[in-house]
């Protein structure tokens, strides 16, 4: 039983990381019908920047977080200007896929060439000693991940629901031409969504760093799994990613323990296939009533 609860908590923590990354896909997909295919590498960059500042140079934790946010903003801007804006103007509907993939490969290679190809340990600021509650050991970092991930998703969704700029984002997601008739600058809204998504990815990198390791390849698999989470939850839903993350995170944790670590990814992707077959717009896919 104790082991079960322990697995439950680490599965949820892992799932919340996927959710955060997946949330980044959803934010930009809804506004621009495109997203950063190398989102995982943005997460990696967040982890690396965090490591350099916090572990190597002993910068205070909050200052490091600010630095990571700043790097996220800059990278989001560069990504938008180099890969997204030209792709959205091009006649091909899918130019953004190759453009963002290329961007990510370049980013990863830059990190490998100028920084390191090794993996490094990133000690949690909360310490590595598990908190013991009734015989169950939980890493403080896992609790932090769960809280921060949920807070970020709730904050962004509330922003979209209750502020006029947030409503403008929803309007652009739904119909950008009509939104522009309201005076909403859709290009700015799309840029904003990419900045937000990049910052979230970089923060996710810092969050996950103490659980994985920090290195140039840390984001690749995470990015792919988060993509599956996005599809399962629904690419245009906000809270759907939380459920998608839970499904993948928990199925991994339990399969690894009770079946075999070799098969840990299988159930998640099986669910992905089922969702694609029966609920193509995801479990929380948008259901809009439209009367003509």
């Amino acid at each position: 039983m104790e082991q079960f609860i322990q697995l439950l908590i680490s599965g949820i923590a892992q799932g919340m990381i996927y959710s955060l990354v997946a949330f980044g896909y959803n934010i930009t997909f809804s506004t621009s019908r495109s997203f950063n295919f190398s989102h995982g590498n943005f997460l990696m960059l967040g982890g690396v920047v965090g490591l350099i500042f916090f572990i190597n140079n002993q910068v205070p934790f909050l200052a490091m977080v600010l630095a990571v946010v700043f790097v996220g903003l800059i990278m989001g801007l560069i990504l938008y200007k180099t890969s997204i804006e030209p792709s959205l103007k091009s006649k091909s509907n899918y130019a953004w896929i190759l453009a963002t993939l290329a961007f990510g490969i370049i980013l990863k290679n830059i990190v490998e060439v100028f920084w390191s190809t090794d993996d490094f340990r990133f000690d949690s600021p909360l310490g590595n000693a598990p908190i013991r509650i009734m015989g169950i050991g939980v890493l403080p970092q896992e609790i932090l991940i769960i809280i921060v991930a949920i807070c970020i998703v709730v904050a962004v969704e509330s922003f979209k629901k209750y502020t006029i700029f947030g409503k403008a984002i929803v309007a652009v997601s739904e119909d950008k031409h009509t939104a522009s008739l309201m005076g909403i600058n859709q290009q700015f809204v799309i840029l904003f969504s990419f900045l937000l998504s990049s910052v979230i990815a970089c923060l996710a990198g810092v969050l996950v760093a103490p659980i994985t390791m920090v290195g140039a390849t840390m984001g690749t698999v995470l990015g792919v799994k988060a993509y599956a989470v996005s599809i399962i939850g629904g690419l245009e839903s906000g809270y759907g990613v939380l459920l998608g993350g839970l499904i993948i995170g928990l199925s991994e944790a339990f399969t690894a323990r009770y079946i075999s670590t070799g098969y840990k990814d299988a159930p998640g992707f099986l669910i992905l296939i089922l969702v694609l077959l029966f609920l193509p717009s995801g479990i929380f896919g948008k259901k809009i009533f439209k009367k003509v």
Partner: protein, 243 residues
């Protein structure tokens, strides 16, 4: 004073010409209608004015200044409000949110309180919208959506209101209601209205002046009454001669 002037406007979709040198003018305070059949270029004209399309040649002047190189969201800031063809309400959002978005620019300018009062004003014109304030607007009936689209345009306090095919897809009883409202707005006299409509009779009834477009060209112009009695118009658009 001319509020809007369209000079030799040519618009192409790729190689297909949609508008071939259209010219027309609207005086401040007028209700001007453009009538014509499907594919004549009515919606293209509207979308070019509001900046959704850019013309191949020709010019659009608002109070004497060219606006045809300006993107749509900046045209909206010039007090032009466009009720698009097919209503285009934001279906996943509530009625109230749609109205708030109509006043997006005003709210960003810090006129939130005034906007809330204006929304109440809109509710007094369209009581049905008040009843459905928190309902997802995609679930409204076609007529209610048209009211919402009108209300959404009115809360921006436009000087020039562009109405694209307000009768589209509505039952005749509802069309009566919509045109009664257009007349009410016209009588308040604080905005110029540019109406594009397939139902020629309805449009000519409310219009001060009207233009007839055929295949991207203006073929006739005159006051609403003149055109209603014009034999060609009667034959082509008002169903006379069929009986």
């Amino acid at each position: 004073m001319k509020i809007l002037e369209i000079k030799d406007l040519v618009v192409n979709y790729g190689k297909v010409a949609a508008l071939k040198e259209i010219s027309l003018e609207i005086e401040e305070g007028e209700l001007v209608a453009v009538i014509g059949s499907n594919g004549a270029g009515k919606t293209t004209t509207m979308n070019t004015i509001s900046g959704l399309l850019s013309p191949t040649s020709g010019d659009i002047l608002l109070n004497g200044k060219s606006i045809c190189k300006i993107p749509a969201h900046q045209v909206a800031a010039l007090n032009i409000s466009h009720v698009p063809e097919g209503r285009k309400v934001f279906a996943s959002m509530s009625v109230k949110d749609n109205l708030l978005l109509g006043a997006y620019l005003r709210i960003r300018k810090g006129e939130k309180k005034q906007v809330i009062a204006d929304i109440d004003d809109i509710y007094s014109i369209f009581p049905r919208l008040k009843e459905r304030e928190n309902q997802q607007s995609g679930t409204l009936s076609g007529g209610e959506q048209q009211m919402l689209a009108l209300g959404r345009a009115l809360v921006s306090k436009p000087k020039l209101l562009l109405l694209d095919e307000p009768s589209m897809g509505l039952a005749p009883v509802i069309i009566d209601e919509v045109f009664k409202l257009i007349n009410t707005i016209k009588k308040r006299g604080d905005m110029t209205i540019f109406l594009v409509e397939q139902l020629a009779y309805r449009a000519l009834e409310v219009a001060d002046r009207a233009y007839v477009v055929e295949q991207g060209n203006i073929s006739l112009t005159g006051t609403g009454k003149e055109l209603m009695t014009n034999p060609e118009v009667r034959k082509a658009y008002l169903g006379a001669g069929k009986s």
